[in-house]
C-alpha cells in the first residue's frame, strides 16, 4: 500500500460526507446505499465513523459529473477514467467525483427499481414472461399510456407482480420540482420540447420542465435514464432503434462495426447514415459500490497500491463477494489504527464438517469415457478456486459438446444443454495424465473424437484414455517461431485452423500437416475481432474470440454480433 506524501489524513475520526447530486442510471436510494456500504468497508476496520450531511460543507463532498466538471481533471467519456478523489484536507481535498458518462450499476447490468404497481418497490426480474413472450428489459407492451413497466418475478401471468420502471413520465430527480414528472410539450426560451433535452446546459445532463412552460414557471427536474437507453454518444436517454441503417446496411442488434475499440453501439433513429444519432448499448456497467470504496480510500489518505487484488489497485475489476484485501487493511490502519472495541462473534455453523466438493456423489453422476476425472474424486484440485473470479483462462474449448475452461491444472465444465450448471473443478492430471498443467489450446476432432491438446511448442493427442505425444508442433509444419497455439477451430470434417499471435494456419487432420499458403493474418479473414485473442473456439455454431474477460462472438455470416463477458455468458456466473 501507499499513502500520500506527508501521510495526509483526517485529524478527526468522525468524518462527514454529503451527496451533492445523483446519477440518472440508478435510483437515488440505491446510490445512497452503495455509498453507505462503501464507507462501511473502511469503518469496519478502523475507528473511523462516517456521518452523512444533507446541507453545508462536509469533509467528503460526493458528486457525479461529465467531462469538464469543475476541477482541473476532466473525465473522458465512457470507460477509461471512472472516477477520482482528492486526499484529505480542506476545500476540494477529500472530495470524490464520479464520471457520469459511465453506466453506473452494481456491476452486473442495469439495476431497475420499480415504482408504484403492486410489488412494493421491488427490483425488476429479468427476464420475465408476459403473455408468453420473454422480456429482458422494461416494456410498454400491454399499456396505452406509454409507461415502461416490468414484472418483479419471473412470470407475470402467474404472479401478477409488477411495477413501473424509471422514466421521465413517472418522475424527475434533483432540480426544483420535488420529483414531479415531465410535462410534454413544454416551452423553454420560446421553443417547444417534446422530450427531455440537454439544451441550455453545459454539463450534458438531460432535463425537462414539470409544467407546460419553463419560461414562466421555472420548474424543472432531471430525467432518469430508462434501462433501455443508450449510454453516451449523442443520443443519451434514447433507446436503440432496430433495425437501423449504417453504411447502407441494416442492423437488427447492437454492433461494433465502424469502431476500432470493439464497443457495441446502435443507432437511435432508423438511419444512422441520415441522422447520425447513436449511443453505446447498455452493458454490465461499473459497480458504484466498488468504485466508491476505492475512491473513499483516496479521500481517507490511501494512494494507489501495486497489489493487483487490493481495492486500491488503480484498475477496476468486478468482484462478486467483496472483502477488503489485507494490503488495504494494513494501509488504512497505518493511518488511523485498528478498530477499537470487541468484534462481534460470528455465528458458528451447527452442522458437522462437510464433504469437500466435488464429492463422490457428484462424480458418479456423470461418467464420461474420454474425461476420466469426472468419475473420480480429484485430489489435486483446489475447490476454493472460483472460476468466476478469474480474469482469463488458459484455454476454453468444447469437448463432447460441453464448454471446458482450463486454468492452472484444473478445469470446469458447463453443459451445453439443460440447466445443470457449472461443474468442477476437475484435475487435468487425473483426466489426462500426460498433460502439463497449462494448456494453451485444445480441440476435439468432430470425426474421430480424438482430443488434441497444445501446450507451448508441444502437443498431445488423446483417444479415450490412450495418448500419443508429446510431439513438437514443428512436426505439424508450424514454424519454429510459433511459441504456442492459442486457439483451434475445426472447419468441415478434416481441417482445423490453428491460431497463434496475429496469424493462423490451416491444419489438415488427414495428412497431419499444415496446408500450403499459410499463415494468414487473423484480421484479414475475421473482421472486427481482436487480432491477439488468446482463446478461439467454436460453440453452438458461433466462433468465439476471447481476450481477458471478454469474448467477441462471430456468427455464421462472419459478423461480430455480440461482445460480452466470458464469465457471465459462457461460464454462467451469477
Amino acid at each position: 500500500y501507499k499513502t500520500f506524501d506527508g501521510d495526509l489524513k483526517w485529524d478527526h475520526n468522525d468524518v462527514t460526507y454529503r451527496i451533492l447530486n445523483y446519477s440518472p442510471d440508478m435510483d437515488s436510494n440505491l446510490i445512497d446505499d452503495a455509498f453507505a456500504r462503501a464507507f462501511k468497508v473502511w469503518s469496519d476496520v478502523t475507528p473511523l465513523k462516517f456521518t452523512r450531511l444533507f446541507q453545508g460543507t462536509a469533509d467528503i463532498m460526493i458528486s457525479f459529473g461529465k467531462a469538464d466538471h469543475g476541477d482541473l481533471y476532466p473525465f473522458d467519456g465512457k470507460d477509461g477514467l471512472l472516477a477520482h478523489a482528492y486526499p484529505p484536507g480542506d476545500g476540494i481535498q477529500g472530495d470524490a467525483h464520479f464520471d457520469d458518462d459511465e453506466h453506473w450499476t452494481l456491476g452486473k447490468g442495469a439495476v431497475v427499481k420499480t415504482y408504484y404497481g403492486n410489488a412494493e418497490g421491488a427490483l425488476c426480474h429479468f427476464p420475465f414472461t408476459f403473455e408468453g413472450k420473454s422480456y429482458t428489459s422494461c416494456t410498454t407492451e400491454g399499456r396505452t399510456d406509454n409507461l415502461p413497466w416490468c414484472a418483479t418475478t419471473a412470470d407475470y401471468n402467474k404472479d401478477k407482480k409488477y411495477g413501473f420502471c424509471p422514466s421521465e413520465l413517472l418522475y424527475t430527480f434533483d432540480g426544483n420540482a420535488d420529483g414531479a414528472p415531465c410535462v410534454f410539450p413544454f416551452i423553454f426560451q420560446g421553443e417547444k420540447y417534446e422530450s427531455c433535452t440537454t439544451e441550455g446546459r453545459s454539463d450534458g445532463y438531460r432535463w425537462c420542465a414539470t409544467t407546460s412552460n419553463f419560461d414562466t414557471d421555472k420548474k424543472y427536474g432531471f430525467c432518469p435514464n430508462r434501462d433501455t437507453a443508450v449510454i453516451g454518444g449523442n443520443s443519451e436517454g434514447d433507446p436503440c432503434h432496430f433495425p437501423f441503417v449504417f453504411l447502407g446496411k441494416e442492423y437488427h442488434s447492437c454492433t461494433s462495426e465502424g469502431r476500432g475499440d470493439g464497443k457495441l453501439w446502435c443507432g437511435t433513429t432508423d438511419s444512422y447514415d441520415e441522422d447520425k444519432k447513436w449511443g453505446f448499448c447498455p452493458d454490465q456497467g461499473y459497480s458504484l459500490f466498488l468504485v466508491a470504496a476505492h475512491e473513499f480510500g483516496h479521500a481517507l489518505g490511501l494512494d494507489h497500491s501495486n497489489i493487483r487484488d487490493a481495492l486500491m489497485y488503480p484498475m477496476y475489476s468486478y468482484v462478486e463477494d467483496f472483502s477488503l484485501h489485507e494490503d488495504d487493511i494494513e494501509g488504512i490502519q497505518y493511518l488511523y489504527g485498528s478498530k477499537t472495541g470487541p468484534d462481534p462473534t460470528p455465528p458458528q455453523p451447527n452442522t458437522p464438517t462437510t464433504t469437500p466438493y466435488p464429492d463422490e456423489s457428484d462424480a458418479t453422476e456423470e461418467p464420461e469415457p474420454t474425461d476420466p476425472s469426472v468419475g473420480t474424486t480429484p485430489s489435486t484440485v483446489d475447490p476454493t478456486k472460483d472460476p468466476c473470479k478469474m480474469l482469463k483462462f488458459d484455454t476454453i474449448t468444447v469437448i463432447q459438446g460441453h464448454l471446458h475452461f482450463f486454468k492452472d491444472g484444473q478445469f470446469w465444465k458447463v453443459p451445453s444443454k439443460g440447466d445443470g450448471g457449472r461443474k468442477g473443478p476437475f484435475s487435468i492430471s487425473q483426466s489426462w495424465p500426460a498433460l502439463p498443467s497449462v494448456i494453451d489450446s485444445a480441440f476435439e476432432d468432430v470425426q474421430t473424437k480424438k482430443i488434441y491438446f497444445f501446450s507451448g511448442s508441444r502437443f498431445w493427442v488423446y483417444t479415450g484414455s490412450s495418448v500419443l505425444g508429446p510431439r513438437s508442433i514443428e512436426k505439424l509444419g508450424l514454424p519454429p517461431s510459433v511459441q504456442k497455439v492459442e486457439g483451434a477451430l475445426q472447419r468441415g470434417k478434416s481441417k482445423v485452423l490453428l491460431f497463434s499471435g496475429e496469424n493462423f494456419w490451416r491444419f489438415d487432420l488427414k495428412t497431419q500437416r499444415i496446408d500450403k499458403g499459410y499463415p494468414k493474418y487473423t484480421d484479414a479473414i475475421f473482421g472486427g475481432v481482436p487480432n491477439d485473442a488468446h482463446d478461439v473456439f467454436q460453440h453452438k455454431g458461433n466462433i468465439y474470440f476471447c481476450r481477458d474477460r471478454f469474448y467477441w462472438r462471430m456468427n455464421s455470416r462472419r459478423q461480430v454480433d455480440r461482445v460480452g463477458y466470458v464469465k457471465y455468458d459462457l461460464l454462467k456466473c451469477p
Binding site: 472516477a83 464520471d99 449523442n234 476500432g260 447513436w278 493487483r308 477496476y316 479473414i525 475475421f526 462472419r558
Partner: protein, 89 residues
C-alpha cells in the same frame, strides 16, 4: 472463408474517445498518471525517458519490466481505472 470483412471505421459525432495511435495513447497515459514528470526536492521538474517511464508504470502495475510498449502494457493502459495519478507530484 471466402471474402474478408472490410472494416470501415467512422468518426462518431459526440464521441469523446478519439482514434489515437498506440504511441499517442501511451504518451498521454504516462503523462496523465505521473510517470513522465519527476519533481525534485528542489522544486526542479524534469522529464524522464519514455522507456524509464514505461518501466515505472510496468512495476506499478505488476507487469514485466521491459521498458517497451508491449502488448500487456498497452492492454493495461486501455483498462478502466481511477483517475488519480499513480505517481504523485
Amino acid at each position: 472463408w471466402s471474402l474478408p470483412v472490410k472494416s470501415v471505421f467512422v468518426t462518431f459525432p459526440g464521441d469523446v474517445v478519439k482514434n489515437v495511435t498506440d504511441v499517442e495513447l501511451a504518451e498521454s497515459y504516462l503523462k496523465r498518471f505521473g510517470y513522465m514528470e519527476t519533481e525534485h526536492r528542489s522544486g526542479f521538474q524534469s522529464m524522464v525517458s519514455t522507456a524509464k517511464a514505461l518501466k515505472r508504470m510496468q512495476r506499478q502495475m505488476g507487469l514485466e519490466e521491459t521498458g517497451e510498449l508491449d502488448k500487456m502494457t498497452l492492454e493495461a493502459m486501455k483498462r478502466p481505472r481511477c483517475g488519480v495519478p499513480d505517481v504523485a507530484n
